[in-house]
Amino acid sequence: MSKNDPRVRVLLAKPGLDGHDRGVYVVAQALRDSGIEVVFLGLQVTPDQVAQAAEQESVDVIGLSIFSGGHMTLVPRIIESLKEKGLQNIPIIVGGIIPPEDAEKLKRNGVCEIFPPGCSMAEVVACVRMLTNTNM
């Protein structure tokens, strides 16, 4: 967190080609409602764009929304991209259609939490608070 800005900043993005953005907008709104600042990178972004934005915007958490089934390719690429920039400490959370087996693998590879369809917004907010040590 930057010293001048006491608010938690979360980068939200939809990597890959998928355009199902209902979930990411709901999460964005829920985070904002709880006083968290959201940088919404938008749709169809590449792994490098995610890492670049994370650096430029000095965010505290990265939230990725993936419904396309491409998570096992896209998420590791993003983690790699972050490592190249020395940003491997920024926690990553992922929401979307992620089978349990893949969720386990992604968690072993450094993803902090996975939010499947039907999860509550409160859980997402609580997770971000926990990851940034900023309980309301």
């Binding site: 355009g19 907008y25 089934g69 096992m72 499947p116 039907g118």
Partner: protein, 552 residues
């Protein structure tokens, strides 16, 4: 002549007052009612009781009438499902054209009666499988199509001249490959039956297929519709997409209104090209969602049928009765299915499918229980298909036409939904039409607000979702198998594309793309040039590139 009038209605009114002061008050005083809001999923208040008083102003012949008669509230066919059941049409497409072909044949063997092909994201986005942007997404949530070769494989051993085919993607490329295949098999266009989704306006703001500007996408799709209307009398060249609008979080009335907003926009465009409304309206097709609120969904279809008939007759002056008919496909709500206790999704799908059937759908896809995890496994998709078959053959609900018609509640809710949808359409008109309302983000904002309100209701437990915010289980073991798409399929698809490129006649490809480019530049209808280019095995991305700078 209204349905209830004069002395009869006065008598009912007085008796209702007595009932309220008498037995109702007694029970309310003693036990009260559950302190939760009684409203539809879309937030419409539901009264304790509906009586003839709620529909006393209705005129049966004007507003409800017989099935097969204007305004078709009770259905477009006089015989309902007694004459013909709806088409059982499961969405299919994954991994590779080869795997998809196998699944299509499996579903045909299990009693599916229409094909319904869905494509992967690279194909929807008009990109070739080996474009770097597509890495990890080839074959993941649909079948990849790069060239005519893939369409040949998908339909290998399937007679596209005799079964109806639904093609779920926008843009001209895939459709042009389908027609090239028909030509290669000597099947005349005028026998082909099926539907192309093709509603670029809706796809642009719902699932965000927007690699080209909205105006360009719109022009391309109008070209396809114009061509098909002229050459393919049994084909529906466009299906207006309410399904995705609802999946994005809209209310039931918004689903109707935004779908019709898009249809009105296309109708205007076709009229501007010199077509008569009665030339194309009978080939317009629609695609709606079936969400959880049983009665609201039944009424949604009844309201939509009536509203569309009125729009066609009053607004467009259509004279051919076939132009007044709302013909539509329904898919149960994917967004309603939960990752928690996934077998419960079978029940949700059953309720939704029943609403679609009692609402009079012409074609149906039932979602599989594993929707919140992946594309369906063979077992899951068979259960989903069986759900339809049990409703069709065992439940008896198909024996009479519009069995819920005449219910005070159903007729009232149908009225209310029609009225709300009509007022939203007026707002779209005020903004200059759907293209404008989408360009300005107004439509998207309406849907986002509805979606957020819905999610908040769940969060605050105003709305209960079994397994999600009530009746949770501590350890939710996954009792179902999940379809895995082997990553090697992506490599296989790319290899096949390279092979096609090596084997085709590059000069022929280049010439056909040059002709397409020229047509695009002059503002001519580009679709015939797409078909020609498909024959040369030009790829989807090459064809779209040839349209850069398209005029019109």
């Amino acid at each position: 002549m209204t349905m209830y009038a004069g002395e009869e209605i006065e008598k009912i009114s007085k008796e209702k007052e007595k009932w309220e002061k008498g037995p109702l008050k007694l029970v309310l005083d003693k036990w009260g009612e559950e302190k939760r809001s009684f409203e539809t999923l879309s937030g419409k208040e539901v009264k304790r009781l509906y009586t003839p008083l709620d529909i006393s102003n209705k005129e049966y012949l004007e507003e409800i009438n017989f099935p097969g008669s204007y305004p078709f509230t009770r259905g477009v066919l006089p015989t309902g499902y007694r004459g013909k059941l709806w088409t059982r049409r499961q969405v299919t497409g994954f991994a590779t054209p080869e795997e998809t072909n196998k699944r299509l044949k499996y579903l045909q063997k299990e009693g599916q009666t229409g094909l319904n092909i869905v494509f992967d994201l690279p194909t929807h986005n008009q990109l070739d499988s080996d474009n770097p942007l597509c890495e990890g997404e080839v074959g993941k949530d649909g079948v990849p199509v790069d060239t005519l070769r893939d369409v040949e494989v998908i339909f290998d051993g399937i007679d596209i001249g005799s079964i109806s085919t639904s093609i779920i993607t926008g843009g001209p490329a895939v459709m042009s490959m389908f027609l090239a295949l028909a030509q290669k098999r000597n099947i005349p266009f005028n026998v082909l039956r099926g539907t192309l989704q093709n509603d670029a306006v809706s796809l642009y703001y719902t699932v965000n297929f927007r690699r080209l500007p909205l105006q360009t996408l719109y022009k391309l799709t109008v070209d396809v519709v114009e061509y098909c209307v002229k050459e393919m009398p049994h084909w529906n060249p466009i299906s207006f997409i309410g399904y995705q609008i609802r999946e994005k979080g809209s209310t039931a009335a918004q689903e109707i209104a935004f779908t019709f907003g898009s249809a009105v926009e296309y109708a205007n465009a076709l009229i501007a090209r010199g077509l008569n409304v009665d030339d194309f309206a009978p080939r317009f097709s629609f695609f709606f969602n079936a969400h959880n609120d049983f009665f609201e969904e039944v009424c949604k279809y009844r309201a939509a049928r009536r509203l569309w008939a009125r729009i066609m007759k009053d607004r467009f002056g259509a004279e051919n009765p076939l132009s007044w008919l709302l013909r539509y496909h329904v898919q149960t709500a994917g967004c309603s299915l939960t990752a928690q206790q996934p077998m419960n999704n079978i029940i949700r799908t059953t309720i939704q499918a029943l609403a679609a059937v009692l609402g009079g759908t012409h074609s149906l896809h039932t979602n599989s229980m594993d929707e919140a995890y992946a594309l369906p496994s063979e077992t899951a998709v068979r259960v989903a298909l069986r759900t339809q078959q049990i409703i069709a053959h065992e439940s008896g609900v198909t024996h009479t036409v519009d069995p819920l018609g005449g219910s005070y509640f159903i007729e009232k809710l149908t009225d209310d939904l029609e009225e709300e949808a009509r007022s939203i359409i007026e707002k779209i008109d005020d903004q200059g039409g759907m293209l404008q309302a989408v360009s300005e983000g107004w439509v998207q904002k309406q849907i986002q607000d509805a979606s957020y309100a819905y999610k908040k209701d769940i969060e605050e437990k105003k709305r209960l979702i079994v397994g999600v915010n009530c009746f949770e289980v501590e350890k939710d073991e996954l009792p179902i198998e999940i379809l895995k798409i082997d990553p090697s399929y992506e490599e296989l698809q790319k290899k096949n594309l390279v092979k096609v490129r090596e084997q085709r006649d590059e000069k022929m490809v280049k010439d056909s793309l040059d002709r397409l480019h020229e047509a695009a530049a002059t503002g001519e209808n580009v679709f015939p040039y797409f078909i020609d280019a498909s024959h040369t095995y030009a790829s989807i991305e090459e064809m779209m590139k040839a349209c850069t700078g398209i005029k019109g």
